[in-house]
Symmetry: C2
């Protein structure tokens, strides 16, 4: 795993992460977050909800944005500063394939701060969420090889 | 589990969720999000980082906000619409006890939309994050008893 340094970052650069959501992922996210809302865990409850069936936690899809920023682009050494205007636009259901995407929209001048436009879509091209993310990128090369 | 209906919600109402973060929680969050940044998983890597040791994923603490909104206040039936001005202010470390908090700041007029000021602090009172959350609250009573 190797980072993209601040100097190597260009406005317009994009990175993606694609993952198919399983009911097990939703159960695992419920356990780690404490969010055991039955709309995520009970088909019996969820089928009578406005969603007509079980949906994933919105924050699960948002975490894929964080995954890209922290491991792919800019990668290790990046400090996640915050997000603006996060909007959940459509539900994520078990079996959906989520493609999360980040695109560099601004490199700041005084500090190695980078702004990204972020989004996620499902296999049908439906936009699931959008947000702006702000990170502090590393100015030096950071490499890491995990032990097997 | 029972919701707070839109009519029952008052500006100034607060709800909290407190959880002590374990290294296992961080590993579980890494698995479900795909975010295997070594700053979360490798003490060897993290001790030489700007954080001086392993830290939790920021989104793990944010998910506690979602947990409150979806299961406690307003609870089941709530639709999470989005977040504004999410700022990560300090790192969360394994062993830290995180208290996440939401406070109603606005009830909207035309729709049952509610705005919350959200934050999380650790056991030393250090503010870890802040954000504004916007939800669509249910106007009707929703109750659910999970099967044992």
């Amino acid at each position: 795993m190797k980072n993209i340094t601040f100097d190597e970052i260009n406005v317009g650069d994009k990175a993606t992460y694609t993952r198919t959501i399983t009911q097990k992922d939703i159960e695992d996210f419920a356990a780690v977050s404490g969010d055991n809302n039955p709309v995520h865990l009970s088909e019996e409850f969820a089928k009578n909800s406005q969603f007509g069936g079980v949906i994933a936690h919105g924050m699960l899809a948002v975490s894929f944005i964080s995954k890209i920023l922290g491991t792919e682009y800019p990668g290790p050494g990046t400090i996640f500063m915050g997000m603006n205007n996060l909007k959940f636009l459509a539900p994520v259901r078990p079996g959906d394939t989520v493609e999360a995407m980040v695109e560099v929209t601004k490199k700041h001048d005084s500090k190695p701060v980078v702004t990204f436009e972020c989004s996620a879509v499902n296999q049908d091209g439906v936009k699931l969420l959008e947000a702006e993310a702000v990170v502090l990128a590393s100015t030096s090369r950071i490499e890491f090889t995990p032990k097997v």
